[in-house]
């Protein structure tokens, strides 16, 4: 045996099959789209329209002072919805802070999904109910959680896949690297979905990475990278479903890069004119996820007035209910501040709780 035969010298996996396609994968408007299930297309359409309406309503709620801030995913609805629909009920979703739509599409109450942004608590839902982790604000830190949970499920012999979402900026974080590396070494049943929407607040992708594509990063970890048109709901759904199934059947993790665009500013509080030209947005407006889907449905004769108006009415109803419920003040108990720091409050916390109670009592009396 020479060094040339040792494990250190020889590549451990063949890199070629891991490489992403040269162009983002697309389905809508291609001949292959003819094979797509009409029920799936209709379901995607309904959810996308609802999602866009949700974003608009939530943004309006910031102007009315009902939300502290809202990071809109307008233009990225196909990624958000496909992520939720690709999962089975027993699977777990690990959203980042921009992924409220995916959280709601997975079944979380639309109001509870906004608790963080309204500011009445940090998370409004029990993660176990819909198997949705709390929206994660520190970028990419949720990715190792997804790996650990998927690994734990596999050790427990459970059929559970975790899908974790992150932005293009988040791929520069150390936790992105560590999560992908752990996932690949452990062959954990995880899917990483990167929404490359062009910007991290004001910083464009070119300042974030020198990689050929973000999907190429997968190869370095020994997992496949997939490059997808993130505005093509059918392509997104297919690629994510395949990746989820691959994970479920022991094939290990996949990195999916969805190429999309952040149509709105970073949040309602941001001024995007400081760092990007309006002209840059125009081509993306012509490649809108809902339009792409409508065109497909229309060309196949699947979009009649009834579906169109029914979908719009459903979205309006959701928005009206959201508006109405968000216009009531949440009932907050300041004593809750001490309730969930530890299983049992420390003696010091008990004292501080008594102090606050006395202060509140004095406030009431005056």
């Amino acid at each position: 045996m020479t060094v040339l035969d040792t494990p250190a010298w020889r590549p451990r996996t063949d890199a070629a099959p891991l490489l992403p396609d040269p162009e983002p994968y697309r389905l809508l408007g291609t001949p292959e789209a003819a094979a797509l299930d009409p029920a799936l297309l209709r379901a995607l359409y309904g959810q996308l329209v609802r999602g866009r309406r949700y974003n608009a309503q939530a943004t309006a709620l910031t102007k009315q002072g009902r939300l502290a801030v809202y990071p809109s995913s307008t233009g990225q609805e196909a990624c958000e919805i496909a992520a939720a629909l690709a999962l089975q009920p027993q699977d777990w979703l690990f959203p980042s802070y921009r992924d409220t739509l995916a959280v709601v599409a997975r079944g979380v109450d639309p109001v509870e999904a906004l608790t963080l942004l309204r500011g009445d608590w940090h998370t409004g839902y029990d993660p176990h109910t819909h198997r949705v982790a709390p929206l994660s604000t520190p970028l990419a830190t949720q990715l190792p959680h997804a790996v650990g949970l998927a690994h734990a499920a596999r050790l427990s012999g459970d059929d559970v896949v975790a899908l974790a979402m992150v932005g293009d900026g988040g791929t520069s974080e150390g936790d992105f690297h560590e999560a992908l590396n752990f996932a690949a070494v452990w062959q954990a049943p995880v899917v990483f979905l990167v929404q490359n929407n062009g910007f991290a607040i004001s910083v464009p992708l070119a300042k974030q990475t020198a990689a050929p594509t973000l999907a190429h990063k997968a190869v370095g970890y020994g997992m496949p990278g997939r490059l997808v048109d993130g505005n093509d709901a059918a392509a997104m759904h297919q690629v994510l479903t395949e990746a989820v199934e691959r994970a479920r059947t022991g094939g290990g993790p996949t990195l999916v890069e969805a190429v999309t665009y952040r149509i709105e500013a970073h949040t309602n509080a941001d001024d995007a004119t400081r760092y990007r030209d309006e002209a840059e947005i125009t081509p993306w407006r012509g490649h809108d996820p809902i339009d792409l889907l409508e065109r497909e449905l229309t060309s196949r004769g699947l979009l009649d007035d009834a579906l169109r108006s029914g979908t719009a009415a459903d979205a309006e109803e959701m928005a009206a209910s959201l508006r109405e419920r968000m216009h009531t003040d949440p009932q907050l108990d300041p004593m809750d501040l001490f309730a969930h720091v530890y299983a049992e409050p420390t003696p010091q916390l008990r004292e501080q709780q008594a102090q606050l109670r006395a202060e509140l009592e004095a406030e009431r009396q005056s």
Partner: protein, 343 residues
């Protein structure tokens, strides 16, 4: 505060025979793994090697790679994946190789480990133990001797525990692993090879986390300490007899929760107190303890509460560390400054 609830996976009380703190910690891990299938150990070199301090010696062989796992070399990844495992209901025990190498995991610790229970209104507690060998006195080169407890105890949501005896090493680690809250478990490296007659406690005998213990009663002044400084304080108390001082020694064992009751009761009895720890004094645990004693016991105090701590310097190189670490003389000097002339 939580008591250990799991059966230790052994019956009868073995005879007390001398063991090192390292062996007691190893036994605590072994018994925890045997008692609860949810317990999983993760870390760098914890498998075939048994950890650089051999605290996980033999565990992978006995329980398999899935229960005691050599991870990739990435502390944030280790703790981050452990968070996910705990979210799923497992009870991970993470080993950080050295104090200073736990820092890459700081964001996971502060932003997630400490907050997940709170963030989810109790729906998602994280029963997670983070073992960190800490402190100096072992002749370690740079980055191998930090006392990092102040970073952790300033973070609400974490328990911070540190044993100073062989017996406590076992009991507190069992209690930490059984706790439904995250516990930063600080192991004083220089006591790893300290030896005393010992046998593992039955779970019922394991003290809950959060109770200080009086290691030595004393009438004239009290030394308050924890972890690596306990033996130094006991030595100082012994030497103090020559000066005519009868010094008591309190071992906190747990910095969070802080057992204010025990500390206040003891200090009220003596009226004089010195807090001793080897981490830097400024903004350290001693500052908090001294402030609390002053708030609680002001009218019983004969002198200001003093601190004997490491200097406010980056941890020194091994050939100079003895000047940094609180020793018997420095402690006795502080005791001498407790305004005896006015007594």
């Amino acid at each position: 505060m939580t008591t250990a609830t799991h059966a230790p996976g052994r019956t009868g009380t073995p005879a007390r025979k001398p063991a090192t703190m390292a062996q007691a910690l190893n036994q605590a891990l072994r018994d925890s793994l045997a008692a609860d299938p949810a317990v999983h150990i993760l870390g760098e070199d914890v498998g075939a090697l048994g950890g650089v301090f051999r605290i996980t010696d033999g565990l992978t062989k006995e329980f398999g790679e899935d229960r005691c796992t050599d991870t990739p070399l990435a502390e944030a990844g280790i703790l981050g994946t452990a968070v996910g495992m705990a979210m799923y209901g497992l009870r991970p025990v993470v080993e950080m190789q050295f104090d200073a190498f736990a820092y890459p995991a700081f964001e996971q610790l502060v932003s997630h480990v400490a907050r997940m229970r709170n963030r989810t209104r109790g729906a998602m507690p994280l029963p997670l133990t983070i073992r960190i060998p800490y402190g100096g006195g072992i002749g370690g080169v740079e980055h191998h001797s930090d006392s990092s407890e102040a970073y952790y105890l300033h973070t609400p949501g974490l328990h911070v525990v540190t044993p100073a005896t062989v017996e406590d090493a076992y009991g507190l680690l069992r209690a930490a692993i059984a706790s439904d809250d995250p516990v930063v478990f600080l192991e004083p490296k220089r006591l790893y090879w300290s030896k005393s007659p010992w046998s593992p406690q039955e779970p019922a005998e394991v003290e809950p986390i959060g109770r200080a213990v009086v290691r030595r009663p004393g009438r004239t002044a009290t030394l308050i300490t924890y972890g690596p400084s306990l033996p130094v304080c006991l030595e100082a108390a012994e030497a103090a007899k020559e000066e005519g001082w009868d010094l008591g020694v309190v071992d906190l064992r747990s910095l969070v929760p802080f057992d204010e009751e025990t500390v206040a009761a003891v200090v009220r009895g003596t009226g004089r107190a010195v807090v001793v720890h080897e981490s830097s004094g400024f903004g350290g645990a001693g500052a908090e303890i001294a402030a609390r004693i002053t708030e609680r016991c002001f009218h019983h105090l004969e002198a200001p509460v003093l601190r004997v701590a490491g200097f406010d310097i980056p941890y020194p190189p091994p050939m100079l560390e003895r000047h940094h670490l609180p020793g018997v003389d420095r402690i006795l000097d502080a005791v001498g400054r407790l305004q005896w002339e006015e007594a």
